[in-house]
Point group: C2
Chain length 177, copies 2
Protein backbone atom coordinates (compact mmCIF):
# COMPACT_ATOMS: atom_id res chain seq x y z
CA UNK A 1 0.00 0.00 0.00
CA UNK A 2 2.83 2.37 0.93
CA UNK A 3 4.36 1.61 -2.41
CA UNK A 4 1.16 2.41 -4.28
CA UNK A 5 0.93 5.73 -2.46
CA UNK A 6 4.56 6.41 -3.32
CA UNK A 7 3.85 5.66 -6.97
CA UNK A 8 0.80 7.92 -6.97
CA UNK A 9 2.81 10.75 -5.43
CA UNK A 10 5.60 10.17 -7.93
CA UNK A 11 3.13 10.21 -10.83
CA UNK A 12 1.52 13.40 -9.55
CA UNK A 13 4.94 15.01 -9.22
CA UNK A 14 5.87 14.04 -12.76
CA UNK A 15 2.53 15.37 -14.03
CA UNK A 16 3.17 18.63 -12.17
CA UNK A 17 6.63 18.96 -13.64
CA UNK A 18 5.29 18.25 -17.13
CA UNK A 19 2.54 20.84 -16.69
CA UNK A 20 5.10 23.39 -15.51
CA UNK A 21 7.39 22.67 -18.42
CA UNK A 22 4.62 22.95 -20.98
CA UNK A 23 3.97 26.54 -19.95
CA UNK A 24 7.62 27.45 -20.53
CA UNK A 25 8.19 25.35 -23.59
CA UNK A 26 6.73 27.52 -26.30
CA UNK A 27 3.63 29.41 -27.29
CA UNK A 28 0.41 27.48 -27.86
CA UNK A 29 -2.51 29.62 -28.78
CA UNK A 30 -4.92 27.12 -30.21
CA UNK A 31 -5.74 29.08 -33.36
CA UNK A 32 -5.31 26.96 -36.48
CA UNK A 33 -3.53 28.25 -39.59
CA UNK A 34 -5.51 28.37 -42.89
CA UNK A 35 -5.80 25.55 -45.46
CA UNK A 36 -3.92 22.84 -43.54
CA UNK A 37 -5.52 23.53 -40.15
CA UNK A 38 -2.21 23.20 -38.33
CA UNK A 39 -2.04 24.50 -34.74
CA UNK A 40 1.09 25.30 -32.76
CA UNK A 41 2.16 21.94 -31.32
CA UNK A 42 2.46 22.10 -27.51
CA UNK A 43 5.99 21.89 -26.17
CA UNK A 44 7.74 22.46 -29.51
CA UNK A 45 10.35 24.69 -27.81
CA UNK A 46 11.52 21.61 -25.90
CA UNK A 47 12.19 19.63 -29.09
CA UNK A 48 15.66 18.59 -30.12
CA UNK A 49 17.78 20.53 -32.59
CA UNK A 50 17.92 19.57 -36.27
CA UNK A 51 20.10 22.45 -37.44
CA UNK A 52 20.58 26.21 -37.65
CA UNK A 53 20.76 28.70 -40.52
CA UNK A 54 21.05 32.35 -41.46
CA UNK A 55 18.86 33.74 -44.21
CA UNK A 56 20.24 37.01 -45.53
CA UNK A 57 18.45 39.30 -48.00
CA UNK A 58 14.89 40.42 -47.29
CA UNK A 59 14.38 37.90 -44.50
CA UNK A 60 17.63 38.74 -42.68
CA UNK A 61 16.97 36.29 -39.88
CA UNK A 62 18.81 33.66 -37.88
CA UNK A 63 16.93 30.46 -37.25
CA UNK A 64 16.82 27.17 -35.44
CA UNK A 65 15.13 24.09 -36.83
CA UNK A 66 13.78 21.68 -34.20
CA UNK A 67 12.08 18.32 -34.62
CA UNK A 68 9.70 16.21 -32.56
CA UNK A 69 10.79 12.65 -31.69
CA UNK A 70 9.66 11.03 -34.98
CA UNK A 71 11.48 13.78 -36.89
CA UNK A 72 14.76 13.41 -35.00
CA UNK A 73 14.67 9.62 -35.21
CA UNK A 74 14.00 9.66 -38.95
CA UNK A 75 16.76 12.22 -39.51
CA UNK A 76 19.32 10.27 -37.49
CA UNK A 77 18.45 6.97 -39.14
CA UNK A 78 18.32 8.56 -42.59
CA UNK A 79 14.76 7.26 -42.92
CA UNK A 80 12.84 8.70 -45.91
CA UNK A 81 10.03 9.57 -46.31
CA UNK A 82 9.47 10.96 -42.84
CA UNK A 83 6.79 8.97 -40.99
CA UNK A 84 3.32 10.33 -40.32
CA UNK A 85 3.39 12.28 -37.10
CA UNK A 86 6.65 14.01 -37.94
CA UNK A 87 6.65 17.72 -37.16
CA UNK A 88 9.50 20.05 -38.03
CA UNK A 89 9.56 23.46 -36.35
CA UNK A 90 11.42 26.48 -37.65
CA UNK A 91 11.94 29.41 -35.27
CA UNK A 92 13.31 32.62 -36.81
CA UNK A 93 14.58 35.73 -35.08
CA UNK A 94 15.80 38.96 -36.62
CA UNK A 95 19.56 38.90 -37.23
CA UNK A 96 21.27 41.56 -35.15
CA UNK A 97 24.84 42.36 -34.07
CA UNK A 98 25.58 41.76 -30.41
CA UNK A 99 27.12 44.93 -29.07
CA UNK A 100 28.01 43.35 -25.75
CA UNK A 101 29.78 40.42 -27.40
CA UNK A 102 31.56 42.67 -29.88
CA UNK A 103 32.87 44.85 -27.04
CA UNK A 104 34.55 41.76 -25.55
CA UNK A 105 35.91 40.53 -28.88
CA UNK A 106 37.12 44.01 -29.74
CA UNK A 107 35.46 43.91 -33.17
CA UNK A 108 32.06 43.59 -34.84
CA UNK A 109 31.84 39.86 -35.39
CA UNK A 110 28.98 38.48 -33.29
CA UNK A 111 25.43 38.16 -34.62
CA UNK A 112 22.62 36.94 -32.41
CA UNK A 113 18.81 36.63 -32.38
CA UNK A 114 16.88 39.87 -32.00
CA UNK A 115 13.13 40.38 -32.06
CA UNK A 116 10.59 37.95 -33.51
CA UNK A 117 9.58 38.76 -37.11
CA UNK A 118 6.09 38.10 -38.57
CA UNK A 119 7.39 34.75 -39.82
CA UNK A 120 8.60 33.80 -36.30
CA UNK A 121 7.28 30.21 -36.27
CA UNK A 122 6.78 27.74 -39.09
CA UNK A 123 5.75 24.12 -38.89
CA UNK A 124 5.71 21.26 -41.37
CA UNK A 125 3.39 18.45 -40.27
CA UNK A 126 3.52 15.03 -41.95
CA UNK A 127 0.21 13.31 -42.61
CA UNK A 128 0.41 11.39 -45.86
CA UNK A 129 -3.37 11.00 -46.21
CA UNK A 130 -4.60 14.36 -44.99
CA UNK A 131 -2.01 16.30 -46.95
CA UNK A 132 -1.65 13.94 -49.93
CA UNK A 133 -1.96 16.84 -52.40
CA UNK A 134 1.13 18.58 -50.99
CA UNK A 135 3.59 15.72 -50.67
CA UNK A 136 2.12 14.60 -47.36
CA UNK A 137 3.00 17.86 -45.62
CA UNK A 138 0.84 20.54 -44.02
CA UNK A 139 2.38 23.98 -43.61
CA UNK A 140 1.71 26.76 -41.10
CA UNK A 141 3.18 30.03 -39.91
CA UNK A 142 2.61 31.99 -36.70
CA UNK A 143 3.80 35.33 -35.31
CA UNK A 144 5.23 36.06 -31.85
CA UNK A 145 1.74 36.22 -30.36
CA UNK A 146 0.91 32.75 -31.64
CA UNK A 147 -1.43 34.09 -34.32
CA UNK A 148 -1.41 32.57 -37.82
CA UNK A 149 0.63 35.01 -39.92
CA UNK A 150 0.40 33.57 -43.44
CA UNK A 151 -2.87 33.71 -45.36
CA UNK A 152 -4.16 31.12 -47.83
CA UNK A 153 -2.37 32.67 -50.77
CA UNK A 154 0.95 32.66 -48.92
CA UNK A 155 0.58 29.10 -47.61
CA UNK A 156 -0.16 27.92 -51.15
CA UNK A 157 3.37 28.96 -52.10
CA UNK A 158 4.99 26.64 -49.52
CA UNK A 159 4.72 23.36 -51.35
CA UNK A 160 5.83 24.56 -54.81
CA UNK A 161 8.91 26.07 -53.17
CA UNK A 162 9.68 22.78 -51.38
CA UNK A 163 9.22 20.66 -54.52
CA UNK A 164 12.85 20.96 -55.69
CA UNK A 165 13.90 18.92 -52.63
CA UNK A 166 11.42 16.10 -53.34
CA UNK A 167 14.30 13.61 -53.06
CA UNK A 168 14.59 14.53 -49.37
CA UNK A 169 10.82 14.29 -48.84
CA UNK A 170 10.42 18.02 -49.53
CA UNK A 171 12.49 19.04 -46.48
CA UNK A 172 15.23 21.61 -47.03
CA UNK A 173 17.03 21.34 -43.70
CA UNK A 174 19.62 18.61 -43.27
CA UNK A 175 20.36 17.25 -39.82
CA UNK A 176 23.64 18.64 -38.49
CA UNK A 177 25.31 16.33 -35.93
CA UNK B 1 2.41 -10.98 -10.98
CA UNK B 2 1.40 -10.27 -14.56
CA UNK B 3 1.58 -6.61 -13.71
CA UNK B 4 5.10 -6.94 -12.29
CA UNK B 5 6.23 -8.73 -15.46
CA UNK B 6 4.63 -5.99 -17.54
CA UNK B 7 6.47 -3.35 -15.54
CA UNK B 8 9.76 -5.20 -15.92
CA UNK B 9 9.27 -5.49 -19.67
CA UNK B 10 8.32 -1.83 -19.87
CA UNK B 11 11.41 -0.83 -17.87
CA UNK B 12 13.65 -2.96 -20.07
CA UNK B 13 12.12 -1.39 -23.18
CA UNK B 14 12.69 2.11 -21.83
CA UNK B 15 16.28 1.20 -20.95
CA UNK B 16 16.79 -0.13 -24.46
CA UNK B 17 15.37 3.00 -26.02
CA UNK B 18 17.57 5.19 -23.79
CA UNK B 19 20.65 3.14 -24.72
CA UNK B 20 19.81 3.47 -28.41
CA UNK B 21 19.29 7.20 -28.11
CA UNK B 22 22.53 7.76 -26.25
CA UNK B 23 24.49 6.39 -29.18
CA UNK B 24 22.88 8.87 -31.56
CA UNK B 25 22.81 11.84 -29.25
CA UNK B 26 26.31 13.15 -29.56
CA UNK B 27 29.93 12.13 -29.36
CA UNK B 28 31.30 10.88 -26.05
CA UNK B 29 34.90 9.89 -26.12
CA UNK B 30 35.78 9.80 -22.48
CA UNK B 31 38.96 11.85 -22.77
CA UNK B 32 38.99 14.75 -20.32
CA UNK B 33 40.04 18.26 -21.33
CA UNK B 34 43.03 19.84 -19.52
CA UNK B 35 42.88 21.94 -16.31
CA UNK B 36 39.17 21.51 -15.54
CA UNK B 37 38.98 17.79 -16.31
CA UNK B 38 35.69 18.17 -18.19
CA UNK B 39 34.57 15.25 -20.38
CA UNK B 40 31.97 15.37 -23.14
CA UNK B 41 28.66 14.94 -21.30
CA UNK B 42 26.70 11.96 -22.68
CA UNK B 43 23.58 12.86 -24.63
CA UNK B 44 24.34 16.59 -24.97
CA UNK B 45 23.05 16.57 -28.57
CA UNK B 46 19.58 15.77 -27.16
CA UNK B 47 19.57 18.86 -24.92
CA UNK B 48 17.17 21.72 -25.45
CA UNK B 49 18.04 24.86 -27.35
CA UNK B 50 19.20 28.01 -25.57
CA UNK B 51 19.95 30.10 -28.65
CA UNK B 52 21.85 30.39 -31.92
CA UNK B 53 24.54 32.76 -33.23
CA UNK B 54 26.86 33.56 -36.09
CA UNK B 55 30.44 34.51 -35.36
CA UNK B 56 32.01 36.25 -38.36
CA UNK B 57 35.69 37.17 -38.64
CA UNK B 58 38.36 34.54 -38.05
CA UNK B 59 35.92 32.05 -36.54
CA UNK B 60 33.34 32.36 -39.34
CA UNK B 61 31.04 29.78 -37.82
CA UNK B 62 27.34 29.28 -37.14
CA UNK B 63 26.49 27.83 -33.77
CA UNK B 64 23.84 26.39 -31.53
CA UNK B 65 23.89 26.71 -27.76
CA UNK B 66 22.16 23.89 -25.89
CA UNK B 67 21.60 23.39 -22.17
CA UNK B 68 20.99 20.45 -19.89
CA UNK B 69 17.84 20.48 -17.74
CA UNK B 70 19.28 22.63 -14.89
CA UNK B 71 20.55 25.12 -17.48
CA UNK B 72 17.23 25.43 -19.31
CA UNK B 73 15.24 25.69 -16.08
CA UNK B 74 17.54 28.41 -14.70
CA UNK B 75 17.40 30.32 -17.99
CA UNK B 76 13.60 30.18 -18.20
CA UNK B 77 13.15 31.19 -14.58
CA UNK B 78 15.80 33.90 -14.83
CA UNK B 79 17.61 32.22 -11.94
CA UNK B 80 21.16 33.52 -11.32
CA UNK B 81 23.71 32.23 -10.56
CA UNK B 82 23.18 29.00 -12.46
CA UNK B 83 22.95 26.04 -10.05
CA UNK B 84 25.71 23.47 -9.67
CA UNK B 85 25.21 20.76 -12.26
CA UNK B 86 24.41 23.24 -15.03
CA UNK B 87 26.11 22.44 -18.31
CA UNK B 88 25.96 24.69 -21.35
CA UNK B 89 27.03 23.19 -24.68
CA UNK B 90 28.13 25.20 -27.70
CA UNK B 91 28.27 23.42 -31.06
CA UNK B 92 29.92 25.33 -33.91
CA UNK B 93 29.99 24.50 -37.60
CA UNK B 94 31.75 26.33 -40.40
CA UNK B 95 29.49 28.96 -41.99
CA UNK B 96 28.85 28.10 -45.63
CA UNK B 97 26.41 29.20 -48.34
CA UNK B 98 23.79 26.60 -49.25
CA UNK B 99 23.92 26.25 -53.01
CA UNK B 100 20.82 24.08 -53.11
CA UNK B 101 18.79 26.56 -51.07
CA UNK B 102 20.08 29.51 -53.08
CA UNK B 103 19.06 27.82 -56.32
CA UNK B 104 15.48 27.67 -55.05
CA UNK B 105 15.48 31.24 -53.71
CA UNK B 106 17.08 32.50 -56.92
CA UNK B 107 19.77 34.38 -55.03
CA UNK B 108 22.67 33.86 -52.61
CA UNK B 109 20.96 34.34 -49.27
CA UNK B 110 21.06 31.06 -47.39
CA UNK B 111 23.89 30.16 -45.00
CA UNK B 112 24.01 26.78 -43.28
CA UNK B 113 26.36 24.63 -41.19
CA UNK B 114 29.30 23.09 -43.05
CA UNK B 115 32.12 20.99 -41.62
CA UNK B 116 33.15 20.86 -37.96
CA UNK B 117 36.02 23.22 -37.08
CA UNK B 118 38.67 22.46 -34.43
CA UNK B 119 36.54 24.37 -31.91
CA UNK B 120 33.48 22.19 -32.76
CA UNK B 121 32.32 21.57 -29.17
CA UNK B 122 32.64 23.71 -26.07
CA UNK B 123 31.18 23.10 -22.64
CA UNK B 124 30.79 25.24 -19.53
CA UNK B 125 30.22 23.14 -16.41
CA UNK B 126 29.03 24.73 -13.17
CA UNK B 127 30.58 23.47 -9.95
CA UNK B 128 30.94 26.34 -7.53
CA UNK B 129 33.42 24.51 -5.27
CA UNK B 130 35.55 22.67 -7.78
CA UNK B 131 35.87 25.67 -10.08
CA UNK B 132 35.75 28.43 -7.43
CA UNK B 133 38.79 30.16 -8.95
CA UNK B 134 37.03 30.67 -12.29
CA UNK B 135 33.62 31.93 -11.21
CA UNK B 136 32.36 28.41 -10.56
CA UNK B 137 32.76 27.34 -14.18
CA UNK B 138 34.92 24.69 -15.81
CA UNK B 139 35.65 25.09 -19.51
CA UNK B 140 36.44 22.53 -22.21
CA UNK B 141 36.73 22.25 -25.97
CA UNK B 142 36.65 19.20 -28.25
CA UNK B 143 37.07 18.59 -31.98
CA UNK B 144 34.85 16.52 -34.29
CA UNK B 145 36.55 13.32 -33.16
CA UNK B 146 35.76 14.05 -29.52
CA UNK B 147 39.39 14.87 -28.70
CA UNK B 148 40.20 17.83 -26.43
CA UNK B 149 41.25 20.62 -28.82
CA UNK B 150 42.31 23.42 -26.50
CA UNK B 151 45.49 23.16 -24.46
CA UNK B 152 46.09 24.55 -20.98
CA UNK B 153 47.22 27.94 -22.26
CA UNK B 154 44.09 28.29 -24.42
CA UNK B 155 41.70 27.15 -21.68
CA UNK B 156 43.24 29.69 -19.31
CA UNK B 157 41.94 32.43 -21.62
CA UNK B 158 38.28 31.31 -21.24
CA UNK B 159 37.49 32.80 -17.86
CA UNK B 160 39.13 36.24 -18.38
CA UNK B 161 37.12 36.56 -21.59
CA UNK B 162 33.87 35.66 -19.78
CA UNK B 163 34.52 38.07 -16.89
CA UNK B 164 32.82 41.09 -18.55
CA UNK B 165 29.49 39.22 -18.28
CA UNK B 166 29.90 38.53 -14.54
CA UNK B 167 26.43 40.04 -13.97
CA UNK B 168 24.95 37.13 -15.95
CA UNK B 169 27.08 34.56 -14.08
CA UNK B 170 29.79 34.74 -16.78
CA UNK B 171 27.51 33.37 -19.49
CA UNK B 172 27.38 35.28 -22.79
CA UNK B 173 24.41 33.57 -24.41
CA UNK B 174 20.93 34.79 -23.53
CA UNK B 175 17.99 32.40 -23.79
CA UNK B 176 15.94 33.11 -26.91
CA UNK B 177 12.29 32.03 -26.58
Amino acid sequence: MKRIIFLLVAAATVAGVIAFRASASGRADGEAAPIFGVKIPPGYRDWRLVSVAHEAGNLNDIRAILGNDPAIEAYREGKLPFPDGTIIARIAWSYVPSEENNKVFGRAQSFVPGSAPDWYLQFMVKDSRKYAATGGWGFAQFDKDGKPSADEAQLKTCFPCHEPVKARDFVFTRYTP
